[in-house]
Amino acid sequence: MEIRVQQERFRAGEELDRFTAGVEHAGAVVSFTGVVRDDSGEMAEMVIEHYPGMTEKALREIADQALERWSLADALVIHRYGPLVPGEQIMMVATASRHRKDAFEAAEFLMDYLKSRAPFWKMERGPDGESWVAAKDDDEDALNRW
């Protein structure tokens, strides 16, 4: 299991290939990549704040839960912090399993929990100034299915 919280950019494809090469006997690899989306077309940048120390711990706990609940060969979580521009990759998760169902479910579980339980906060900077992204009720609701 690899958990990385970093300011530096990463390439999801490169990480995916490395992850896939490292797992034996896993027929199924699922990845999720989150990209900075600029719906208004006016966002200058996104700044991600996090809680050093707690972030790594929270992500590790979430990944541990996934490894307990599903039959996984491995899991990967990468999440950036600091300033990002639209189109940049914010984070990714990857899961590997013998069967696709486990890999898909575990990746969705990781995403749902990461969204609402890992201490990251997004701020958007645009022509009208700065604003903190509000949490969505949907995201909290998504936890109920697990």
Partner: protein, 82 residues
């Protein structure tokens, strides 16, 4: 003595990312009451507890959590990672 940390707009309203406080409070809720009584910026930051989350020693918890033996309390809005 306890370290109190603030993140995102809570940090902006309080004006500092962290501070070290002397407190008699034995629960998070009591600490919040102490802070609100102190200065307006705390009153503003803690005006709606439903909009806030709290972690004691880096574990998410509720406002009724005990502060016994706690070294670090953090206040922040609901998380928006991913």
């Amino acid at each position: 003595m306890i370290d109190v940390l603030y993140f995102a707009w809570v940090r902006e309203r309080i004006g500092v990312p962290r501070e070290r406080l002397e407190t008699e409070a034995t629960t998070v809720a009591a600490l919040v009451e102490e802070l609100r009584a102190r200065e307006e910026r705390y009153e503003v930051a803690f005006s709606d507890l439903a909009a806030l989350r709290v972690a004691v020693d880096q574990e998410l918890t509720g406002f009724d959590a005990s502060l016994e033996g706690a070294r670090e309390v953090a206040f922040f809005p609901p998380m928006t990672g991913g």
